[in-house]
């Protein structure tokens, strides 16, 4: 009897909690999502270790033998110029996080702002301009756009980042625009307007915070897309200019596999697969947890 009362009380507390607390609860119950989060956490620790100089600092040394097999000294072996593949793989984790974070944060911020402006001023010239810009950017094939930008910004180390941010914000912007069109008819917006709150304040203080569940999910999706794109672009010679990344390691391996050397290919692929898979699991779980239709 007391058990039934406790369950009823818990259910009541849950149903009375905010969307965020319900989402956190739901997320914590998703096993795959939690495993994904744990793996992402491990990658993050690896990346932070590289950032703070704890490990991965010998990625550019060429003191090893050519194509050494995995051993205690070289855990994943060495490449053709004697570089330690383990050191390069973990250093690339930092590069992946740098690219993922920079692109995810900036494209989400831009998408949120432009999407909110377009949605709030839907049907006006502001909306027209944002939609036109989005349409133009979406109509250009991504890799062609990156190549053109890399050529235009010759020598600029972050042309890949610029290209990704310029193209990845559009989806976020479209989703936010739709959400804002819905929100601007809500009573709290009407009330703010009636009280004379400036429109930009309404957008940034009252409306955008209510799109955070979309932004969070979009940011995780963009994070993964950015990492995958970086690998492809680096493989094509359009990505990381100086340094190392999993894409560059795979590009190096195209010649090595012909000579029967697979360490570069295998380990860069394993690291990439692990992070992308984990982030996808986490992203799916987050999407489920933040879906207003399922959070009740």
């Amino acid at each position: 009897m007391s058990g039934a009362v406790e369950i009823a009380a818990t259910t009541e507390r849950r149903s009375r909690g905010s969307l965020w607390s319900k989402a956190v609860y739901k997320l914590s119950r998703d096993r795959f999502g939690m495993v994904g989060l744990a793996v992402v956490g491990i990658y993050l620790i690896v990346a932070l270790g590289v950032w703070f100089g704890v490990w991965g600092q010998g990625w550019s040394d060429v003191t090893g033998p050519m194509w050494a097999a995995p051993s205690d000294e070289y855990r994943f072996g060495t490449n053709v110029i004697g570089q330690d593949i383990f050191e390069r793989a973990i250093y690339s984790t930092k590069v992946a996080f740098e690219v993922g974070l920079v692109v995810a944060v900036l494209s989400t911020v831009i998408g949120a702002i432009l999407g909110a402006l377009a949605g709030y001023f839907s049907g006006t010239w502001i909306d027209e301009i944002v939609l036109w810009l989005k349409g133009v950017l979406d109509s250009i094939p991504f890799y062609l756009f990156v190549a053109a930008l890399a050529f235009a910004l010759q020598g600029f180390a972050y042309s890949m980042h610029v290209a990704m941010i310029a193209t990845f914000w559009t989806t976020t912007g479209r989703l936010v625009r739709g959400e804002v069109i819905k929100l601007r008819g809500f009573e709290f917006v009407e009330a703010a307007r009636a009280l004379g709150v400036p429109e930009l304040t309404i957008i940034f203080r009252h409306i955008i915070p209510n799109t955070f569940h979309i932004l969070l999910v979009q940011a995780t999706i963009v994070f993964v897309a950015a990492i995958k794109s970086e690998v492809i672009l680096s493989f094509l010679g359009l990505g990381v200019k100086d340094g190392v990344s999993w894409g560059l390691m795979i590009a190096e391996s195209t010649q090595e596999v012909l000579a029967g050397q697979f360490n570069n290919f295998i380990w860069a692929s394993v690291f990439l697969f692990g992070l992308v898979m984990a982030f996808n699991l986490f992203s799916d779980a987050l999407q489920d947890a933040l879906d207003p239709r399922s959070v009740t």
């Binding site: 060429v62 110029i81 050529f151 010759q154 100086d242 190096e252 012909l258």
Partner: protein, 599 residues
């Protein structure tokens, strides 16, 4: 009955269709028509086959097969030796070395082509040579070879300045009669005959140039052993020129050496008249892996350079390169050190590494360059990128030319990390004050790895990794432009000899050739320049060799460049192909001697 007729009708249609397919396949299959077809491969496609554009080995290769030059290199002789081609003999040179008289073989004809009256190719005459050389000095031709004769033939530069009127005569370039050419030089040019072996100097008929206009670049009309049937980015198809002059093969005169060429089956062409194959397909395959797959498949291309990644698969030993037993009966292989040099040079225009107005700082800069040279590990470079079988030597003169000095000290190509550190310390260099070194590369995995290896060498002598900066260029053309404009402090490049004379590499450091010329180092040493000018007008001989070697020593002593290395090339071709397919220096000239064994 009706249904039987329908069935018979359907069967007849199927038979007709199959017969049609069979015919089509047969006409494409050379074996069916008993044609001899040799399928060659190259790693790039030429953009043009107009001799004025034959600046790449790919273009030169095709040009030398569809056109004729006055001279050529002997097919098999190594070191390379000159021989006659369209000329009857070597030129008669005046005592002052300024006048060359060359006689042409009579009775040589261009291929039949609509540009000639009645479509019948006319005889090749001396005025065709005069016209062909003039084209390089016609601004509308956009020739890539004017530099070869610029400032050397009397009146030629003035002819250009006067508007390039082909009907006006040039005193230094004349056709004395139908078969005699006279060239008058403004100063001695001992390499002149070498330049007359190059595709640039090939003889073209004026009628065809005027008839085809811009399309002449893809519609060659020459007197070479082959004529072009098809040309695009995938393939050039050359078919035997039925009117090619009949000259039987004298193997000894071509440099045949039984000790070197045994087993290649070359004896079979003795006394016969080339060309020996009916058709040559030159396939342009840019990817190493694709080319190798096509070659090793057996039924496709019959010649390929062995990709470095395949060495262990193909060779049982690298020194000397030896084919694996199971491959010996299927393929022929030849190895040779390429006539070229790979080197890295500082750009002396940058005062943080090169020349400096303050003598003390200039001395420190020299010490810095010498330290970088000491840090460079040529052995490792050869092992990692050239399978450990490249030739490493001090200076810029490669082993392919007789002027190379094998007795020179090897200190400049021997790694000395401690010596480099000491040199830096003695001259006040440390991690804080070492200058930033920008290393340019054309975007490719290999170029990036070469950079990373170089950076690794320098970090071992205490050069901060972050001060060795990579700058990527989209294409080789882009980085080449940056070199020409003197925008990079460090130049990493290779140079293939145009002709077998050390002058061709020594000119890379001649002061007046500075940017945008070929002297990317912008090296300017008074003694070096004086010796270059002195040797430039000398004929080959011990005295000139001594001067060349002294110039080489000046380069090493001034620590202007990290040099040098020549790659060992391994070429393979199918066992049923009789030939010696070395395109270096000889160009595509050897293709006329290729034959196929009867199956």
């Amino acid at each position: 009955m009706t249904s039987t007729l329908k069935i018979l009708g359907a069967l007849a249609l199927i038979c007709i269709a199959m017969a049609g397919c069979g015919d089509g396949g047969g006409s494409r299959d050379p074996a069916a028509s008993n044609q001899k077809v040799y399928r060659h491969s190259m790693d790039q496609a030429p953009v043009s086959v107009d001799p004025t554009q034959a600046a790449t080995v790919y273009s030169n290769f095709v040009v030398l097969n569809v056109y004729d030059t006055l001279y050529a290199y002997k097919y098999l002789a190594r070191p390379y030796e000159l021989t006659t081609n369209l000329a009857t003999g070597f030129p008669k040179i005046s005592d002052d070395g300024l006048s060359y008289v060359i006689s042409l073989k009579p009775g040589v004809h261009f291929i039949d082509d609509p540009s000639f009256p009645d479509g019948i190719g006319r005889e090749v005459v001396a005025s065709d040579f005069v016209y062909s050389l003039k084209r390089h000095f016609d601004a509308t031709t956009l020739s890539q070879a004017a530099w070869v004769w610029q400032g050397r033939i009397v009146g030629l530069d003035e002819w250009k300045e006067a508007g390039s009127d082909y009907d006006s005569e040039i005193s230094g370039l004349r056709a004395l009669d139908a078969h005699t050419i006279q060239i008058t030089l403004s100063k001695p040019y001992p390499q002149l005959v070498h330049t007359l072996t190059m595709g640039f100097s090939a003889l073209v008929p004026r009628e065809a140039v005027e008839h085809y206009g811009r399309e002449f670049s893809i519609h060659p009309v020459g007197s070479g052993p082959f004529k072009m049937e098809r040309f695009d980015t995938a393939r050039a198809t050359l078919i035997r020129n039925p009117r090619f002059r009949a000259e039987s093969v004298d193997l000894a005169a071509l440099g045949f050496d039984p000790a070197l060429h045994a087993g290649l089956g070359l004896e079979a062409i003795e006394g016969r008249t080339p060309p020996f194959v009916d058709r040559v397909d030159v396939n342009f395959v840019t990817e190493d892996a694709a080319r190798w797959n096509s070659f090793s498949k057996g039924s496709e291309i019959q010649f390929a350079k062995i990709p470095t990644e395949q060495f262990d698969t193909v060779l049982s030993s690298k020194t000397p390169p030896t084919l694996k037993k199971e491959l010996e009966n299927r393929y022929n292989m030849v190895d040779f050190v390429e006539p070229g040099v790979i080197f890295n040079t500082f750009n002396m225009d940058f005062d943080e590494f090169g020349y400096h107005p303050d003598p003390a700082q200039a001395e420190r800069n020299t010490a810095l360059r010498c330290a970088v040279i000491k840090a460079f590990d040529w052995e490792q470079r050869s092992e990692r990128f050239y399978n450990g079988i490249a030739k490493i030597y001090p200076g810029i003169i490669p082993p392919a030319v007789p002027e190379m000095d094998s007795g020179m000290s090897r200190d400049s190509v021997t790694r000395d990390v401690e010596g480099a550190k000491q040199l830096l310390a003695d001259h006040g260099w440390n991690a804080d004050n070492l200058p930033e070194l920008v290393y340019g590369v054309a975007a490719s995995v290999k170029q990036r790895q070469l950079f990373e290896q170089f950076r690794g060498f320098l970090t071992e002598i205490g050069y901060p990794s972050e001060k060795i900066v990579l700058e990527q260029f989209a294409t080789f053309g882009d980085i080449s432009k940056a070199w020409k404009q003197s925008k990079l402090p460090f130049v990493s490049k290779g140079w293939n000899l145009d002709y077998p004379d050390a002058e061709n590499v020594l000119q890379l450091f001649y002061g007046p050739n500075g940017s945008p010329g070929s002297n990317d180092a912008n090296f300017a040493d008074p003694e070096y320049d004086r010796l270059y000018e002195q040797s430039a007008v000398m004929q080959e001989g011990p005295e000139r060799t001594a001067i060349y070697r002294r110039m080489n020593e000046i380069l090493v002593d001034s620590c202007v460049a990290i040099m040098g290395l020549s790659r060992t090339n391994l070429l393979m071709w199918h066992e049923n192909v009789i030939g010696y397919p070395d395109r270096n220096i000889v160009g595509g000239f050897w293709l006329r001697y290729v034959d196929l064994r009867e199956e």
